[in-house]
């Protein structure tokens, strides 16, 4: 199996998904099942264990690894608190660090993210930080103990595709932990593109949740991720501007007519 190893866990699916923005928990559950995702992120701020209303956790397939995220955290300290709360609430020891102090573009704060990663990794969390694709920040995250790095393709929810392609490619080429493209992926073709680039996985939420048919869209993403990964493993041919005949100038070397 061409598995993905995060921390000590070997995953079969390279599609991570989210739980926000769905029209109902039932639709969300069906979508998660239809794409066979194994890692599901949810904002801890939305998890209500004591509330009378529906508990989102009941709708996440039992076999999935929960990836609580620290949505709402404005700095490292708040992210750390939310992560600890998540653990205390029984959401496991994986955490997606989201430190956002910009409500307009929802861009992550790499500096605070690194600080939170360092503390939480030491406490034994499997830390997956959401980040702006910056090589030095990614290196520091790895040093701080991140189990993967999650650079954004475009701002959250924008469905604009991988606008940060050059920078994400550098992370894929240079960083030793898995690179998971998170945010911005709007279409299955873009998920495939990320996988062809060599991303270890992608995380998709808005594009599935806000689709007319989220269940079918989840499946489409699943297929695209598999196709993209397969293409990466098979090593795609080099792109050319013009059609190229095979060996027009040096063909004679192989024709035995010298």
């Amino acid at each position: 199996m061409d598995g993905l190893k995060i921390g000590d866990t070997l995953l079969e699916s390279r599609l991570l998904t989210g739980t926000g923005k769905f029209s109902s928990n039932q639709k969300m559950e069906a979508a998660l099942k239809s794409c066979g995702t194994q890692v599901v992120t949810m904002a801890l701020r939305r998890v209500d264990l004591e509330g009378r209303e529906e508990n989102i956790l009941n709708y996440i397939p039992k076999e999935c690894i929960l990836l609580p995220n620290t949505s709402g955290a404005r700095n490292a300290e708040e992210a750390i608190r939310i992560a600890r709360l998540a653990k205390a609430m029984g959401c496991g020891n994986w955490v997606k660090i989201e430190v956002i102090s910009d409500n307009k573009y929802l861009l992550p704060d790499n500096y605070e993210t690194i600080k939170a990663t360092e503390v939480l990794a030491k406490e034994g969390f499997v830390v997956l930080p959401y980040m702006s694709p910056d090589l030095m920040a990614a290196k520091r995250l790895v040093e701080a103990g991140a189990a993967a790095a999650m650079p954004l393709g475009a701002p959250i929810g924008t469905n604009r595709g991988i606008r940060t392609k050059e920078l994400v490619q550098i992370l894929i080429d240079e960083i030793q932990v898995p690179i998971i493209v998170d945010a911005g992926i709007g279409k299955p073709s873009e998920a495939a593109e990320a996988m062809e680039m060599g991303a270890a996985a992608v995380l998709v939420n808005t594009a599935i949740a806000t689709a007319e048919d989220p269940i079918k869209m989840a499946e489409a993403f699943s297929l695209a991720v598999k196709a993209g990964r397969m293409a990466y493993v098979a090593k795609t041919g080099v792109e050319r501007r013009l059609a190229a005949a095979s060996s027009p100038l040096t063909g004679f070397l192989h024709e035995g007519d010298l």
Binding site: K21, G51, K87, N103, Y105
Partner: protein, 373 residues
Amino acid sequence: MSFYQSIQRYQSFDYNDFFKGLTEDHITKILRKDRISEEDFLALLSPKATLHLEEMAQKANKLSLQHFGKAILLYTPMYLANYCVNRCLYCSFNTDTTIKRSKLTLEEIEREAQAITATGLRHILILTGESKGQTPVSYIVEAVKVLKKYFESITIEIYSLTEEEYREIIEVGVDGLTIYQEVYDEAIYDAVHLSGPKKDYKFRLDAPERACRAKIRSVNIGALLGLNDWHKEAFITGLHGNYLQNKYNDVEVSISLPRLRPHKGSLRDYPLVGDKDLVQILLALKIFLPYIGITISTREKASFRDHLIPLGITKMSAGVSTEVGGHSSSSKGDSQFEISDTRSVEEIKETLYARGYQPIFKNWMDIEKDIDR
């Protein structure tokens, strides 16, 4: 600098002249843009733009889905007291009116909290009139301590505080502030606020900013539509939201669109804001500030509220009473204004599901609380 300086730029601006210069072509072009300017926003509030309401609605719907998804946060107001020293012409709490006055004791607040949590709600908005004698900050602080046991998020809608006072109540667990300027036009503001601390226009205007400096998490602003020409008020409200979001990046800014409702104050001759006008304001705001939340209260009729949902609403009140003690059916004091949507939380929940939206009951929590690790 305060927002006061920013709005001075529009002090002598000729809105009508600007509107007259607009063509349909302008509006069409604006609707093709990804990001629109202040001027574009004003153009979308113009009479010309009413010819493009459907296109505006399509765009606002798309932006709202992208930013907030198919989810609506539910909350309810709890009136702690209705004592007030202000004389505001549009409000029943006006010190001149002869309504029944009261304030809840801490035990009564607890009973209200129990009644509200039984409906499933986890976000609460607490309100008082302005009376530092009857409901001083220390009273709010005690109330919040009680409410923290029941709610995940507490927003206050009370009189303007100083930055230090905001810090004090944030410290005990308040995470949101709702404060309406009521009317941004300074002359009208002065005319409708006869006396009382609220008469201080600038102190009111800068209140959201003081709360932002005190590190509040969310701020909800608005103009009481009907006190002035709504085009101007909606425009300045949008500018205020934009100003706050640009200056305080980490604060969740949202805007309410309260229309003047029947009340026991003395103001009677205000220009009406029609349903179509309200929709236009909502759409223009959403297109100008897509990342900003929009709240619609029970001042609006049930069916009208429901139609607004896909146009960009992110927060709705449910199971509302504007009477002091109204949730535990032991009403002690008269209401601030008449509500139009009397549906229970359960009914609102069913409506949202039927319309393909998910009611959200919890979107925050006390992250300061101690945990056993």
